[in-house]
């Protein structure tokens, strides 16, 4: 993705969390950031071959990094391919995404990892980083070849979608992963605790007669995994934290110096189980939408950095799979193209500063998985996102880039819109091309 062209992004409000927050020009040379300074334009006026991108009135920030997506390739290409998923990513401002291994076959091998990387390179949109399986076939029994997966390019391991129920297997996985300094992600759910459960267990599930998933389903596994991280010294990443208790345990674990990081999904701080009332299968995901007190706890967790990052858990499903009875529809919603405006709403309401919100989409996720992105310091790959913070738009599912349409935010008016996305100095998304 490198090119010889020099690009100067002028006059934007640049936020590179921890490094820059103010109006500046950004110079890109040979696909890398070479300078972030005010008034670079006047200094460079005589230089030939500089393409100017006018970013006046726009936010210029590092490209977003999503540690949790499901691109359904290989195996479920009718839901999403790596090409359509990465097109959705860059349309949502994401330049790096980490894809979970619950494909078919499960990504528990070098060949599947290499296939994903090859498909991502061919798509030429976002950077795609595979996450390898913890156990062979994600069956929770024998360790996958984690060393080989690391060598092939996996940036973390997880059996996402299913928990590793056997605590000894989880202990061994965590111990083993420390040899490669790989983060271990466990889908925290005691699957025996909520047989048939398909929404939060509470007042709404009681009224609707839908089998419930109590908060304890998540919390008992969060507690176990924190205990195992303490035992093994392994890096533990808690995905899609959805309950008060999980936030509290993550906070306490961090205070005690256990190497725990945590993520929250936009739907978990934007919606509650009330969204399920009309048996809306696009409000069905796992972990489920919880209650007001959980939403509040997640916001507090984001505020005090108990929750390090925002991740989408982008989980595409075909229309015919979601047009089913509530209990028969699959879990999951798409999120890449709505994540930024939903996160920006936390800024609008005063929960986060704009720089904090951007950090949770850029610098922080890059830190959690040791990715050399999420920043604009000179020398790094020029992955940037240009955003019109004041643009409002209505979510029209027909115009999303994802192959699937399963979002509970259809018809919502969103504030904040991605205008242009660069990966390695190349424009991979330009809203003007669509207009």
């Amino acid at each position: 993705m490198t090119n010889d062209l020099k690009i100067l992004i002028t006059g934007g409000q640049v936020i590179d969390p921890g490094h820059w927050n103010g109006v500046a020009d950004v110079l890109i040379e040979r696909g890398k950031i070479s300078a972030v300074e005010p008034n670079l334009q006047s200094k460079l006026q005589k230089v030939k071959g500089v393409e100017i991108v006018d970013a006046k009135g726009l936010l210029v920030c590092p490209g977003f990094v999503d540690l949790h997506v499901h691109f359904r390739e290989p195996g479920f290409e009718y839901k999403e391919t790596i090409a359509t998923g990465s097109a959705a990513a860059v349309a949502g401002g994401f330049t790096s995404v980490c894809c979970m291994p619950n494909t078919h076959p499960i990504n528990d091998s070098r060949s599947t990892t290499e296939f994903i990387l090859a498909q991502a390179a061919a798509a030429g949109k976002a950077r795609v980083f595979p996450i390898g399986a913890i156990t062979k076939g994600s069956k929770g029994e024998e360790l996958a070849e984690i060393g080989e997966l690391f060598d092939a390019g996996c940036v973390a391991v997880s059996d996402d979608g299913v928990p590793v129920m056997n605590s000894l297997v989880m202990r061994r996985a965590m111990e083993y992963a420390t040899a490669f300094h790989l983060p271990v992600i466990d889908h925290c759910e005691d699957s025996q605790l909520a047989p048939g459960g398909c929404m939060h267990e509470g007042a709404v599930s009681t009224e609707l007669g839908i089998p419930g998933i109590p908060k304890a389903t998540e919390e008992v596994m969060v507690a176990r995994n924190i205990a195992l991280a303490e035992l093994t010294g392994s890096r533990l990443h808690l995905p899609h934290v959805s309950t008060v208790g999980s936030v509290r345990m993550a906070r306490e674990a961090k205070a005690r110096g256990i190497p725990v990081t945590a993520e929250a999904c936009p739907h978990h701080f934007s919606l509650t189980d009330e969204a399920v009332r009309s048996y809306n299968t696009n409000a069905k995901m796992n972990p489920p939408l919880r209650t007001d007190e959980d939403v509040q706890a997640i916001k507090e967790g984001l505020q005090d950095n108990t929750i390090d990052i925002v991740a989408t858990d982008h989980a595409p499903h075909a229309i015919q799979e979601k047009q089913l009875e509530f209990d028969e529809a699959p879990f999951g919603i798409i999120g890449l193209e709505t994540a930024f405006p939903l996160t920006l709403s936390l800024v609008e309401e005063g929960t986060l500063t704009l720089e904090q919100a951007i950090a949770k989409l850029t610098r922080e996720p890059a830190r959690v998985f040791d990715l050399p992105y999420g920043t604009l310091v000179p020398g790094v790959e020029a992955d940037l996102t240009l955003i019109d913070l004041n643009a409002t738009w209505v979510v029209d599912t027909a115009r999303l880039h994802s192959l699937s349409r399963n979002t509970p935010f259809a018809g919502w008016t969103m504030k904040g819109r991605v205008v242009k996305t660069f990966v390695g100095g190349t424009v991979v998304y330009d809203r003007e091309d669509i207009l």
Binding site: E207, I210, S278, Y279, Q320, Q323, L324, E325, D327
Partner: protein, 306 residues
């Protein structure tokens, strides 16, 4: 006031007036079922489809008789499995029925919300004949009619609903029906069978049956799903029957003229003792008779919509 709805999906969204309207419509049809020629032409030329995804004999038969006594053409359609298993979605099945120009679709389904999803996507009048653990509105309306007939009114009566409330659509519909009509509702069962936040539906929760039954005017026993044993909801049928079975001795603790109700089918000797089923307080068979009348009244109202 007239009944303006296209469908009957549940009682949670129905007003007291709407429920009263259905009961008023049912009343005259009781007499029809007692005639030698049990038929009126109210739904002549209309088509009613009974689409039952769960096995049911009594509810399906009750709907079928109700439709036939109104002179409708009735077709029973009982796919043995859910939509995913049989490869056609519920909505596709419903669209096919819609384009066969049916008028009323009676749906029994194991998924909560199935009737609502279908009604939203179809021009058919949909009657929920039971959806998962959610609602079974015509059963609760039959129960209301029975109570109203025997007691004169429902307001201020003390009613106990006993058993596996968590997994019971009859319980939910009865809770909505009775609380909206002004009854005081107690719910009784082991904590494993009482769903979270149930008190928010305006009921009082008890775990001690002897305490809960004291002085009540009506006892509604729920059928114990025997196959639930072994799923840690209760240790044994023996213990369940001892703690939550309705015995003649327990009936004595209720009000003198208590009504004993059960939606059927009855597990004699489990949730209700043999002699109580056949005793003077039981109105279980009246509930069945009223079930036909309520379904006739409801189908009549839905067919009058246009």
């Amino acid at each position: 006031m007239s009944f303006k709805r296209k469908d009957l999906l549940g009682l949670a969204s129905l007003s007291q007036e709407e429920m009263a309207l259905i009961l008023d419509a049912a009343e005259p049809f009781k007499e029809v079922s007692g005639r030698e020629i049990k038929k009126v032409p109210a739904l002549r030329g209309k088509t009613v489809i009974n689409l039952f995804f769960e096995p049911s004999t009594r509810t399906r038969t009750s709907f079928e008789l109700a439709a036939k006594r109104l002179s409708a053409d009735v077709v029973n359609f009982s796919p043995s499995s859910s939509s995913v298993m049989k490869g056609e979605t519920l909505l596709d099945t419903a669209r096919n029925i819609e384009f066969m120009q049916a008028d009323i679709l009676v749906l029994r389904h194991s998924s909560a919300g199935a009737a609502e999803i279908l009604a939203r996507n179809s021009r058919l009048s949909v009657i929920n004949a039971g959806d998962g653990w959610h609602e079974h509105p015509t059963q609760a309306l039959s129960d209301l009619l029975t109570i109203q007939e025997k007691k004169g009114q429902v307001r201020d009566l003390h009613v106990a609903i006993v058993g596996d409330v968590a997994h019971s659509r009859v319980a939910r519909s009865n809770i909505y029906a009775l609380t909206k009509m002004g009854a005081n509702v107690r719910v009784v069962g082991p904590p494993t069978m009482i769903p979270l936040c149930l008190h928010r539906l305006g009921v009082t929760v008890y775990h001690d049956f002897d305490e809960a039954i004291s002085g009540v005017d009506v006892v509604i026993m729920l059928r114990l799903q025997l196959e639930r044993q072994g799923r840690s909801l209760f240790p044994s049928i023996r213990e369940y029957a001892r703690l939550y079975g309705l015995t003649a001795e327990r009936v004595q603790r209720a009000a003198k003229d208590v009504l004993v109700m059960h939606p059927g089918p009855v597990n004699r000797g489990v949730e209700i003792a043999h002699d109580v089923v056949d005793g003077n307080a039981a109105v279980i068979l009246e509930q069945v008779a009223n079930g036909v009348a309520v379904r006739m009244g409801l189908m009549y109202l839905l067919s009058q919509r246009n």
